[in-house]
Amino acid sequence: MKRYLKLVNLEVSRVAKVLLGGLAAVFIIQMIGVWITANQYMKNANEVIMGGASAQSILDGNYYMSMLSFSNTIYLSGPVALCAGAVFFYIFLIWYRDWNGKNTFIYRLLMLPTARLSVYFSKATALMILIFTMVAAQIAFLKIESSFMDLLVPTEYIMETTVPQIANHDFILRYVIPSTFTEFILYYGGGFIILTVLFSAILMERSFKWKGLLLGLLYIAAAVLLSLSPILVLVVLDYADYFYESELLYMFIASSVITGALSVWVSHYLLNKKVTV
């Protein structure tokens, strides 16, 4: 346990600088985005007023400014999407960086007097920490950005919104900052399971090279099928209608968890018996 935590610490500190830099960039871009959209609104409002309409008519027309207008813009969603992409990329990099020519740190990781599964879980944990840090930062950013918007747009034109409202309105953030606990468990639990499946595929490639790559891709496909299997079976047998949606969901969750557990087991086996440096 102690060694697992040390490894988690190591993995997190290796990526900390990049994380901080990335978050700073996200913040700056989003703030610029708030600036731009707020000014855009003010420009439009002023034009309308110049054209003879009254300020009141703007309010009567429900033409408020809020963070909701900011959501779904490239300035908000863009950085989020990029971060998601970066995380996805790091799922692979977190392994491959230890294997590349100059950095043969994987030798050391595999020769530690600790269960190799600790190495596996430390990388998985580090990724989850990375993700949650980003999410927490994004929540904080939204609050700051809201306040910033309050500075740029006169109070009468502002419609206050909460972070959950903003998140729910954005087509990407609704999944990143879910509005219900159930959704949180589903999305992040599901994300973790996807992570374990990808880890297995990576380890297959590291164990068998080209054959492993093929095997890995097949495994990913098989994992998807396995997760969906209860539903697929029912659809094929035409029994799907007999079940409530929630029941189908529970089946899906169960088979997904099994897929995840299987992936962890496969990774454990590969890491101990088949992986080669």
């Binding site: 100059k102 530690l112 007097p113 190799r116 080669t276 440096v277």
Partner: protein, 229 residues
């Protein structure tokens, strides 16, 4: 005693190791010799569990490799087995963190011996000094068995001398050392046992001094037999 018993390993179709057997004892320096690609590094990695084998078995003090074996089995590969952006001190702390068998006194001694500065970042070091850091990280562990893969490769002559000095010092005392090298000249009279590999198996396993006593042959003479029939 470290025993390699009838180990086979295939890379694709090719049988790189085809029934390799030899032993290495504590208190002795065993040298694996053979041309490039004969499988010396593969055997080392197999002993350390860094690559799987297709057949045979490897026993360390009578037992198969487990995670606790890594406390008494240390590897000094030909590439740095550490994060290069760390300073030497940070690397040593890392080792101390994970290995119960880490001996900081010995590490400090090696720092002096190799004239290294612990504040230096490993990525800034020359090839020779990086090799020495690698050695330090491996030797400062109170391991019973030390495996070195090409410790002299690409190293300047003065660093080589320093490294060769390690073999006669108390730093190797009572440990079992397995080393692969091409630079047989540097260590011909330092090694106890020679294991000559050819075509995937052991051509000959002999004690260097006994070969001189009994047959008046140097290690290089024996190698010539293998490769220039």
């Amino acid at each position: 005693m470290l025993e390699v018993k009838n180990v086979t390993k295939k890379f694709g179709r090719k049988r790189v190791l085809d029934g390799v057997s030899f032993t290495a004892n504590k208190g002795e320096i065993t040298c694996l010799i053979g041309i490039n690609g004969v499988g010396k590094t593969t055997i080392m990695k197999a002993i350390l569990g860094l690559t799987p084998i297709n057949g045979g078995e490897i026993l360390i003090d009578g037992e198969k490799l487990t995670k606790s074996t890594y406390e008494k089995l240390t590897f000094i590969p030909d590439a740095l087995a550490m994060l290069p952006n760390l300073t030497i001190m940070q690397a040593m702390d890392f080792m101390a963190d994970f290995y119960d068998s880490w001996n900081q006194d010995r590490a400090d001694e090696l720092l002096q011996f190799f004239k290294l500065n612990e504040e230096d970042r490993i990525s800034t070091l020359s090839k020779g000094n990086t090799a020495k850091v690698n050695l330090l990280l491996g030797l400062a562990q109170d391991a019973d068995y030390v495996l070195m893969d090409e410790p002299f490769s690409g190293i300047d002559i003065f660093s080589r001398e320093q490294i060769a000095n390690v073999f006669t010092s108390h730093l190797i005392e009572d440990r079992g050392v397995i080393i692969t090298t091409h630079e047989i000249n540097d260590i011909e009279h330092l090694i106890d046992k020679v294991v000559v590999l050819n075509n995937g198996s052991v051509y000959k396993e002999f004690n260097a001094e006994d070969m001189r006593i009994n047959e008046g042959k140097s290690v290089v003479d024996v190698l010539r037999e293998v490769y220039i029939p």
